[in-house]
């Protein structure tokens, strides 16, 4: 009788039942779509962080250089001043190959790596050096100074007036690439942890003091390098050391890989940074310890910048952040608002239907039906409508998620361009907004960066540093479907409760007296 009565009643007021079901379906479909989109954005964010952060590394430790401490500024290796006898004569050949930290990451003592590795809840720690190799070749032209300072800027200082920047710079070829010094003993941490060897081999402990290198696959292709090739890496004395390429490594997209990887000890020696690193990679014993380990490191290494995934996540900008904000704020509240509206509508319509059936329920009470039985009947009808709404809503949710997958634009994620506090394995984030921070020595600027082709090139590199593109995929999981159907049934129960309450309050005499 119970299900028969429900089915017959819903058939009698089919139009109203469908109306209520569609209202619930819209709310539930929206909940599913927004939840799926939100999950997709979260997955994209996690993928981005994974790409930018690397596998196995929970925390990175770096240090921002203080103003004026940049040293190692790039220069031609001679002071440039008007009338100085130290200036090379016009016609002198320049061939400088320099390896340095570039001034965006300050040095940290290697002993910090050991201290951190011994801390509680630290599983492993490794040091790394993120360096830049720059080769300048050319011939010093004759200079025509119209008074004022030289056309070259030293570390941290800016030049003014003088010279003809564009013609001076045109006499030199500048070639740069990034170099990472890798702690071979802790290969599971650091810049190579996410790489895959596509040719040759990776480092072994026997390579610790050897002039061998791994080359990034993209860089190798651009520069026609392969296993067995030779690559010249500079040093702090502006000369070059030839390294043998023993392997080609591919890093995930957006990982900002270095171009060349060499053993850490060799890198320290070449860059004149013995016993120094500029990035420490740390793995916590478990994910719950990351915050406490980060806190301990901050205390143990004063002045350092300690970054974990949460910090990195907050630095990520781009459309992925906008999408996350949209899904979590507007999307979530819109779905909740529509769902509440659907529940209210269902409740009001159910109560109205009960009011129209007062005489019917009064008759049933006169026949000896308990109020509880009548309430269950009303709730059963409402839940049945809710289930129909839920099924339609799940369909709408799938359709909504499919539309999101099909028509959403690729999401981009970038790290803030002025972020210097944290490092990724690739190290390219050290580039500031326009050229080398604190560096730039040797380049005449005349206050117009636009006339300096070299500065423009580095600016471009800085703008694209840390950018990842992810395609949004909105997954509809079983959990989401179960929640959605649960919401539909809840909507039915709420509506039925309102209607049932109305029916339960009926006094049989009153109900029967409402005869036209």
């Amino acid at each position: 009788m119970f299900f028969t009565y429900i089915g017959r009643e819903l058939r009698r007021r089919m139009r109203q039942a469908i109306f209520i079901a569609i209202g619930l379906a819209l709310g539930i479909g929206l909940v599913i779509t927004v939840t799926a989109a939100s999950a997709g954005v979260k997955n994209a964010q996690a993928s981005v962080l994974h790409s930018l952060y690397g596998v196995g590394t929970d925390i990175t430790v770096t240090k921002t250089p203080t103003a004026g401490s940049e040293g190692n500024g790039f220069g031609f290796g001679f002071r440039q001043s008007i009338g100085s006898t130290s200036r090379p004569k016009a016609g002198s050949k320049i061939d400088n190959n320099t390896l340095s930290a570039g001034g965006t990451l300050a040095s940290l003592a290697s002993s910090n790596v050991t201290s951190i590795a011994k801390m509680d809840n630290v599983a492993a720690a490794a040091g790394g050096l993120t360096l830049n190799d720059r080769t300048i070749t050319g011939t010093v032209p004759a200079l025509n100074f119209n008074g004022g300072g030289g056309g070259f800027s030293r570390s941290g200082s800016s030049s003014s007036g003088g010279g003809n920047p564009s013609s001076f710079g045109a006499n030199f070829n500048i070639n740069t690439f990034t170099v990472n010094g890798v702690d071979i003993a802790n290969g599971e941490l650091g810049p190579l942890s996410t790489g895959k060897i596509s040719s040759g081999r990776t480092f072994t402990t026997a390579d610790n003091a050897s002039d061998v290198a791994l080359v990034d696959a993209s860089y190798a292709t651009q520069n026609k390098l392969k296993v067995g090739s030779t690559i010249a890496v500079g040093n702090s004395k502006n000369t070059a050391t030839n390294f043998k390429v023993v392997g080609i490594v591919s890093e995930p997209a957006g990982n900002n890989p270095a171009d060349v990887y060499i053993p850490l000890g060799v890198a320290q020696s070449l860059a004149g940074l013995k016993n120094d690193v500029n990035t420490i990679y740390v793995t916590a014993s478990n994910s719950g310890d990351i915050s406490s380990v980060a806190s301990s490191i901050s205390k143990a290494v004063p002045g350092s910048t300690v970054t974990d995934q949460n910090t990195l996540a907050s630095e990520v900008t781009g459309s992925i952040s906008s999408a996350a904000s949209l899904a979590n704020n507007l999307g979530k509240w819109l779905a909740i608002a529509v769902l509440i509206a659907a529940f209210l509508l269902a409740s009001l319509l159910t109560m109205a239907a009960v009011t129209r059936r007062i005489r019917e329920f009064g008759t049933l009470k006169a026949l000896g039906w308990k109020s509880r039985r009548i309430v269950f009947q009303v709730m059963g009808e409402a839940v049945a409508i809710g289930i129909v709404g839920g099924v339609i809503g799940v369909g709408l949710g799938f359709a909504g998620a499919a539309l999101v997958n099909k028509f959403s634009s690729p999401l981009t994620a970038s790290l803030a361009s002025n972020t210097t506090g944290s490092a990724t394995p690739g190290g390219a984030r050290q580039f500031g907004g326009g050229g080398f921070a604190g560096g730039g020595g040797g380049f005449p600027t005349s206050g117009t960066t636009g006339n300096n082709p070299f500065r423009g090139a580095f600016s471009n590199a800085a703008r694209t540093a840390g950018t990842v593109t992810e395609h949004l995929h909105a997954p509809v999981t079983i959990a989401i479907i179960i929640v959605a159907v649960g919401l539909a049934i809840l909507g039915g129960l709420i509506a039925g409760a309102f209607g049932g309450w109305r029916a339960a309050r009926l006094r049989p005499a009153d109900a029967l007296s409402k005869v036209a």
């Binding site: 009565y5 009698r12 019917e360 008759t363 049933l364 029967l512 005869v515």
Partner: protein
């Protein structure tokens, strides 16, 4: 069966009070047929509702088979209605979405009768009233007389002690009215029912054993000839 003692029923109506029943005293023995007549609005239906436990008196006692319905809790009252009292209404009050068979079954649902047994008893009740070929019809597919017969079957399928009918022929034409009253009379005679019928129709009232007249909330009862 019934003993009403000084039963009153008052309804608030705005600032005033409507005295629907003013001290009704009546005894209705087992197996008696009592017809109640009177002008509209003088308390006939109110009295029927109190006899059926659908409403409580404002004061007085309503003894039904040793139980005072005026002081019986609602849950118990529901059980009394389910077990012992059959109702027939002027407008039939069939559930429009249920078939004739299912409408009769609704009277057996509160008794916990199993589905198969319910269907069997309902079918038998309808068959005995000549509706064996209308079991699957909805009320909208039945004539007025047929609908009232379904209502009678619903009222009697549970073999109640008392049958209360409020204007059972009020919505029927003359021929059908006679048919229904003849049917009720036969059922009363065959089953030994206690029957109370509210009616405007004197021809029906005369067929009862006793005739009660409600006027201004007071009941006077006399034997019919």
């Amino acid at each position: 069966m019934y003993k009403l003692t000084n039963v009153t029923k008052d309804y608030p109506k705005g600032r005033e009070t409507v005295h629907a029943l003013r001290g009704v005293d009546v005894e209705i023995p087992d197996g008696e047929w009592l017809a109640i007549q009177g002008p509209t609005g003088h308390g006939k239906s109110t009295l029927l509702q109190i006899l059926g436990g659908l409403d409580r008196p404002t004061s007085g006692s309503v003894d039904f088979d040793g139980r005072d319905l005026a002081r019986t809790r609602e849950a118990q009252m529901t059980k009394v209605r389910a077990d012992s009292i059959g109702f027939i209404f002027q407008t039939f009050n069939l559930i429009p979405t249920l078939s004739a068979l299912e409408n009769v079954e609704t009277a057996l649902v509160p008794l916990g009768v199993s589905g198969a047994s319910r269907r069997a008893r309902a079918a038998e009740a309808l068959n005995s009233l000549g509706l064996g070929d209308r079991l699957r019809h909805l009320p909208s597919e039945l004539s007025g007389g047929q609908q009232q017969r379904v209502a009678i079957a619903r009222a009697l399928v549970k073999e109640p002690k008392v049958l209360l009918a409020d204007e059972p022929t009020g919505n029927l034409d003359e021929d059908t009215r006679d048919e229904i009253i003849g049917l009720l009379e036969k059922l009363w005679q065959d089953n030994g029912l206690t029957m109370v019928i509210v009616t405007h129709d004197s021809s029906i009232a005369r067929r009862a054993q006793r005739l009660g007249t409600m006027r201004n909330g007071k009941l006077t009862v006399k034997q019919t000839v």
